[in-house]
Each structure stands twice: as structure tokens, then as C-alpha cells.
């Protein structure tokens, strides 16, 4: 008997990539895709790396594919936008060694800035898209995807969602398939996308998608399960895919189901045949009506977004209510204080934001833990759009309204996000003569996704120690001389440098450098405790919103010893000596 193991969807994907014999993987971390790379790097025989961004990752995989080995890249759905440029064109090129990209969508917005649907991109880019429904399928589909990639000369995207990526179930393990490297042959008609070549390749691509659609009618992963469920005497059928399939099975185990393992291109004949065998057809797909609109365009009557929402995650209860018409009698959620995520105790961003807040400076923000600086009580971050946008949008504000306008503005961006796409925006500021102030919140890691290394940490995905990008030298290399490194917990020094730089007629970069409090090698030798007799109940220590501090009924301060990391920020803000650092 083969070995079985409980695995996260993401761990199963990594296993699938390894079993499929892939040799090169590149990725940028992004919830809910991050663990794939962290798992994959543990397997022998496959090179896995963190790239500075998703575009680079996709291009690394493309190079490996062209050279003749099975290659892999993974990203969250907004990362797919960054990688869209190479992937749209690589769709025309096809592959030598198979290329599979896993893109993780986030219905319900657990950890993202929008709710986009990767299947729409797959349609636009003419890239086949597969969608597994549990960890076992996640592993199996990766292997199908490599076969399709090589057989149909195309990159393949496997789409997952947060719920699949972060759910565990049992997975049957197999051995790795050793795939011999393919030879590389120069072929500029296929590998160089100049207009003349691309015109010809576009014809090939359209034919490929037709061939794939035909293949999809009999492919093993598009499954029909005929059942005998009826409603009001009518035979009920569902077309569904991914995690949504599980909700249908939970509520209607006897319904007729067409489960799509590949959601682009669609198996038209199979769908027509299935639709003809049921009386009422529901299309149950999370996010956009990608399947529904195509099925309706073929003149097939079906019910989809009329009753199922475009927003958020689906559930079994949705079927109970919308299809079965059940009144579930669910008790309303209680009206109690919400608990949004917050910066951790000891977070260096809190120190920087407390200074910006005091100076009444607005921040054009970016993507990372520090996005949380938008919320009360810090309320420093005014804008968050996408990775790298803080710096360029600050530049846009200056060009729109002049230098004086941005004298109470800065851009804040994390070290990993700066490496991702912030660097381009900074070059633009230098080139186009901006006077803005950019603060790199350098906490020595990619924080929000759970501590991944990047080019400026000096360590790779596999743990190898390598030379680190030096931000000061990098800025100097661009031509920016006005660069200041400061420890954000030194509030006086940080205040002084921010005040000076925002008022200068010159582009400035401030590197606020202090490690993330949760990094493994961080020691917290101190804790802070109140000195009640000195406390005047002014509340200054509470202002940065550290969750370890609480105001008691009588106005005095309590510090949760289990949470305090002893950073001393609250102590620095107290003018009365009512807080003191003690040995932990």
C-alpha cells in the first residue's frame, strides 16, 4: 500500500511538482500561495527560489522551459497581473519542457486587495486553466497539467483558492517521475515574438485552444456523476468546479454533477450532453460567471449568478438556502467589538507610524503588514493600491500639485515590497526630479506572508547565505545621495530626519531599519512594566495602539506580560517614568 499523508493544498501542490519531475521553480511569496515554495524547496532534485517579483519568477520558469526542463512558478492572483506580460506572450511561444503556474485566488478577501478571478486572465491569454477541489486533486492536477503543457505546447495555469490552499486532507504519495531533459533547438519562429512571428503563432494558439476544448470532452478530470436527485419532480444538475464542488457534494450527494477539472477551455459537447439529461441546471462557481456566461452563450438554460453571489466564498449553506429553499434558522452573530488584524507588539512599523502620526504626516502606503497603519489609532497610511505603488503615487501627487503640497507626505514601503517593484518607482522619482521622501520600512523580512527572505536579507529560499542588496548603496548607485539609515525606535533621531527631509528640495530616502519582532532569531530580553505610582493617566503610551497595553477602569495601565516584546516604544512615549524595562 502506498503512503498517505495529511497535507495542505499548498503542500500537495509542491509534492505534485516534485513527483512530476520539475527541476526549476521560482516565485514571490503571496497569501495564499506562499507555502508551495516553502514545501517544494525541501525536495531533492528541484531548484526552488524566491524571486524579487512574480514577473521575474515567471520569466525564470520560461527560461527553464525553453531550455528543456519541466519548470514551475507560483503566485497569488494579484501577482499574476505583475507576471501577465511574460505569460501572455509565452502562451504564443508554447513550451519545450512543460511549464505550470499555480495562481491562488482569494474569494472572501482573507488577505488581498481585490477579488479578481484568475480564470478571466486565462481566457484572455489563451492559457488552459485547471482547478482542483482538494489536496489529492491538487497534486494529481499538477501532473495532468504538465502532460497537457507538453502535449499541447502551452503553459498551463492551475488555479487554487484560499480555502483549497489552506485546507488539509489525506493525500496518496507517489514516487518522482524522472523526466529526461529535452534538447534545446534554436527556433526563432517559435521563440522570438516579433510581429511577423507572433501573427503566425496566434493562429497556432487559436487552433491549440480548439484542440484542447475537444480533448476536454473526454479528459479524465472533467467528470460526470449522474444521480437521481429531483426538486418538484425535476431532475437537478450542477456544473461546478474547485472547492465549490465540495459544497454541492455536502448538501446534494445524490445530485447529478458535472465537475470541471479544467475550466478553460470548456468541454462544449460534454456540457451540452449533461444539460440535456437534467431539467434544472445550476452553475455553482465562486467569483465571476466564467462558465455560466459561456454556457448561456450556447443557448443552454441555466441558473447561476441570479441566485449565487459574485462576491466572497461559497458554502454548503448557500445551496441549502438558495437551491433547497431551507430556512436554516441561523442565530444572528452577536454585536461585539470586531477584532481586525493589528501590528504585533514590538513591531518597528508602530514606532515609525507613531512619529509620522505625531508630525501629522500623510503616508502613501503599500502592500505589507504596514498597510495596517491605515487603521486607528495610528491612521497614518492614506492610500494602498498595489505592490510598489506608494513611491510612484507620491511622485504623481507632487507632479499634480507641486512640491509644497507633499511636504506633509511621505511614501512608506517595506523592504521586500521595495525589492519587488518599489525600485522602479524610485528610479522614476530620481529621473523625473522628484523632491519626495521615501521611507523604506526595513524589517529584514517579508512579514505579512510569514517571514520569507528576499534579495536584501542575504539568505535564499534554501537557506543559503548570499551577499545582500545594500539599500544605501543601491540608492547611491541610482544617483540618490540623500539617504539616511535610522533605527525607528530612536524616536528623536527619526523625528529629526523626517522633519528635515520632507522640507528639503531634494529626493530623500530614509531607511527605518529594525527587525520584525517575530523573526525567529530575535531575542526579547526585556519586558516593560508599569510603575503605577508615577502614572498620571495621560494615555500617551496607548496612542500607538500596542495590543499588549490596556487601560484599566481606573485609568491606570496594565501590560500583558505574555504579549509584550519589550521594544520600549511605550516607555519612550511616557514623560513621567511610569513605565520601566525589566528583565524578561
Amino acid at each position: 500500500m502506498s503512503e498517505k499523508k495529511m497535507m495542505l493544498g499548498n503542500a500537495a501542490i509542491a509534492r505534485g511538482v516534485w513527483e512530476a519531475g520539475a527541476k526549476v521553480s521560482s516565485a514571490y511569496p503571496g497569501t495564499p500561495s506562499t507555502e508551495i515554495s516553502e514545501e517544494l524547496v525541501k525536495y531533492p532534485g528541484v531548484y526552488a527560489e524566491w524571486a524579487p517579483n512574480e514577473k521575474v519568477a515567471a520569466e525564470v520558469a520560461i527560461g527553464a522551459s525553453i531550455s528543456g526542463v519541466r519548470s514551475f512558478c507560483t503566485m497569488k492572483m494579484v501577482g499574476l497581473n505583475v507576471a501577465a506580460d511574460p505569460l501572455y506572450s509565452f502562451s504564443y511561444i508554447g513550451c519545450n519542457g512543460g511549464l505550470v503556474a499555480v495562481v491562488a485566488d482569494d474569494p472572501g478577501l482573507y488577505s488581498s486587495q481585490n477579488e479578481q478571478d484568475t480564470r478571466m486572465v486565462c481566457r484572455a491569454a489563451a492559457i488552459p486553466c485547471m482547478e482542483p477541489a482538494d489536496s489529492q486533486e491538487a497534486k494529481d492536477y499538477i501532473k495532468y497539467a504538465y502532460e497537457i503543457s507538453e502535449k499541447f505546447d502551452t503553459p498551463v495555469i492551475v488555479r487554487t483558492t484560499t480555502r483549497l490552499a489552506h485546507s488539509q486532507c489525506e493525500v496518496e504519495l507517489c514516487e518522482r517521475e524522472e523526466i529526461p531533459d529535452k534538447p534545446y533547438e534554436r527556433d526563432i519562429q517559435k521563440h522570438v515574438m516579433m510581429p511577423g512571428m507572433a501573427k503566425k503563432r496566434h493562429v497556432v494558439v487559436e487552433q491549440r485552444m480548439k484542440d484542447l476544448a475537444e480533448y476536454a470532452n473526454t479528459a479524465p478530470f472533467n467528470k460526470v456523476e449522474m444521480g437521481d436527485m429531483t426538486l418538484d419532480g425535476k431532475k437537478v444538475g450542477f456544473i461546478t468546479e474547485g472547492i465549490a464542488y465540495q459544497y454541492v457534494k455536502e448538501v446534494c450527494p445524490n445530485a447529478s454533477i458535472l465537475k470541471l477539472g479544467m475550466c478553460h477551455p470548456l468541454p462544449k459537447k460534454l456540457i451540452e450532453d449533461f444539460a440535456s439529461k437534467v431539467d434544472v441546471l445550476y452553475i455553482f462557481e465562486e467569483l465571476e460567471p466564467v462558465v455560466e456566461e459561456q454556457v448561456k452563450s450556447w443557448g443552454i438554460s441555466c441558473i447561476g449568478k441570479e441566485i449565487f453571489t459574485i462576491q466572497g466564498e461559497y458554502s454548503a449553506n448557500m445551496i441549502r438556502e438558495k437551491v433547497l429553499g431551507m430556512d436554516l434558522g441561523i442565530k444572528a452573530a452577536p454585536q461585539i467589538p470586531p477584532r481586525p488584524p493589528i501590528l504585533c507588539p514590538g513591531c518597528p512599523h508602530r514606532a515609525t507610524f507613531s512619529v509620522l502620526s505625531k508630525l501629522k504626516i500623510h503616508a502613501a502606503g503599500d502592500i505589507g503588514c504596514y498597510t495596517l497603519g491605515a487603521l486607528a489609532p495610528l491612521s497614518v497610511v492614506d492610500t494602498t493600491v498595489c505592490m510598489g505603488s506608494s513611491i510612484s503615487s507620491l511622485h504623481g501627487m507632487e507632479k499634480a500639485k507641486g512640491h509644497d503640497y507633499i511636504k506633509n507626505w511621505v511614501a512608506v514601503i517595506g523592504d521586500s515590497t521595495f525589492m519587488h517593484t518599489g525600485i522602479n518607482s524610485l528610479i522614476n522619482m530620481f529621473y523625473n526630479q522628484s523632491h519626495g521622501t521615501v521611507i523604506i520600512l526595513d524589517n529584514r523580512t517579508t512579514g505579512m506572508t510569514g517571514h520569507q527572505d528576499h534579495p536584501a536579507t542575504g539568505k535564499t529560499l534554501s537557506g543559503e547565505i548570499v551577499p545582500a542588496v545594500d539599500f544605501t548603496k543601491l540608492c547611491n548607485g541610482i544617483g540618490i545621495t540623500n539617504v539616511h539609515e535610522v533605527n525607528p525606535f530612536d524616536l528623536d533621531a527619526l523625528t529629526k530626519v523626517i522633519k528635515e527631509e520632507v522640507n528639503k528640495d531634494e529626493l530623500s530616502v530614509i531607511i527605518a531599519k529594525a527587525p520584525c519582532a517575530l523573526l525567529k532569531d530575535q531575542k526579547h530580553p526585556y519586558k516593560v512594566e508599569p510603575v503605577p505610582e508615577k502614572c498620571v493617566h495621560c494615555g500617551a503610551c496607548l496612542r500607538p495602539g500596542c495590543p499588549a497595553l490596556t487601560k484599566r477602569e481606573d485609568g491606570s495601565i496594565a501590560i500583558d506580560k505574555t504579549m509584550c516584546n519589550g521594544c520600549g516604544l511605550c516607555m519612550s512615549l511616557c514623560k513621567f517614568g511610569a513605565l520601566q524595562q525589566v528583565k524578561a
Binding site: M6, T31, Q168, Y247, P337, P341
Partner: protein, 189 residues
């Protein structure tokens, strides 16, 4: 067997993931089909977090919905209150008598509800434990979640040995002894 639904709720950073993995391991060893659904990413930064564990002969969906939980394990009181409506009529609520103020309460913009556990007891079958106190007595506040798990384990269909075996497998090797002790404090309460 009808599918059983377990939920673990708490505040990001309290270690709900380790607990769900121990639960999943015990059920897997007992030969059930198990699905575990976790929260990673932004909510882990001090936000409200929830993990679902489902086991039975044939489990399809990985999440537990309102009105379906057989056992709700809450690492914090306010979170117990937030998710209590997920319990079945005869479901069991295991609550750690521990308070973590959400930021609105820290700032004085909202009030932390009073008598949470007493009010929950009026509606649900509630078992409370001051796990942090027990864990500190053992010398490590971090093992409080195994104290809570120990108490919860008394209300599930697995033996003491089945639990201890998985705890040994899942916690860092150096902490097996203290985690086992913590579990037994809850289990023998």
C-alpha cells in the same frame, strides 16, 4: 458515522494552527476521513482567527458553518462569544477564561463585554478553564493551548493515549514533556 465538526477560535498568534494539527492527527490515526481548514496571512496578525476540523466516514466540505459545530474550542472569551452561534443545539463550548482586548477596547472606543462566560452558560453547555494560569504554573505560558485542548479532549471520542501519541509527534521535540503535562492538566480537570 455522521460527520463531526470541531472549531478552534482565538486571536492570531495564539497557536490555533498547532491545535488543529494535533486534532487532525488524532482523527486520522483513528481511521477517519479528516479535513482541516486554516487561516494564514493577514488575520494571523492579532485578528480573529478560526480553524475548522471535520471528521467522519465521508467528509466533503472543509468548513463548519453556523449551527453545526459539535465542539467549539475558544482560546479567548470574546472569540467564544463571536462564534458561539456556530454551535449545534447540544454542542459543547470549551473556553479559556482569558481576555485579550481588541484595539477598539484598548483605545477606549468600545467596551469589552462583561460576564461573557456566565451569559454563554445560559445558552450553551460551557466548560471553562483558566489555561494561562495553569500554563504559567508549568513554567511556560505558550503551552496554554494544550491545557485547553486537554479539557476539550474529554468531550471527544478518543483515548488519552491516542492524544498523547500525536502531541509527541506534532510539538517541537524539546517541548514534548511540558506540552504533555499541559494537556494532562486540562484532561484531568
Amino acid at each position: 458515522m455522521e460527520t463531526k465538526n470541531i472549531m478552534i477560535v482565538g486571536v492570531g498568534g495564539q497557536g490555533t494552527l498547532l491545535t488543529s494539527r494535533i486534532l487532525g492527527g488524532v482523527m486520522e490515526n483513528a481511521g477517519y476521513q479528516v479535513k482541516v481548514s486554516e487561516v494564514h496571512g493577514m488575520a494571523q496578525r492579532g485578528g480573529s482567527v478560526v480553524t475548522f476540523v471535520r471528521y467522519g466516514d465521508n467528509v466533503a466540505e472543509p468548513i463548519v458553518e453556523e449551527g453545526q459545530a459539535d465542539v467549539l474550542i475558544a482560546f479567548e472569551k470574546l472569540e467564544a462569544m463571536r462564534y458561539a452561534n456556530f454551535l449545534k443545539k447540544d454542542g459543547v463550548l470549551i473556553v479559556n477564561d482569558w481576555r485579550i482586548d481588541p484595539i477598539s477596547v484598548v483605545m477606549g472606543a468600545a467596551k469589552y463585554p462583561e460576564n461573557i462566560i456566565e451569559n454563554l452558560e445560559k445558552e450553551y453547555k460551557v466548560y471553562r478553564i483558566d489555561a494561562m494560569d495553569e500554563a504559567l504554573r508549568l513554567g511556560n505560558s505558550r503551552v496554554f493551548n494544550n491545557v485547553v485542548l486537554g479539557l476539550a479532549a474529554r468531550h471527544m471520542d478518543f483515548t488519552r493515549e491516542e492524544w498523547l501519541k500525536v502531541i509527541e509527534e506534532k510539538v517541537p521535540p524539546k517541548t514534548v514533556e511540558i506540552n504533555t503535562k499541559a494537556f494532562l492538566v486540562g484532561y484531568e480537570k
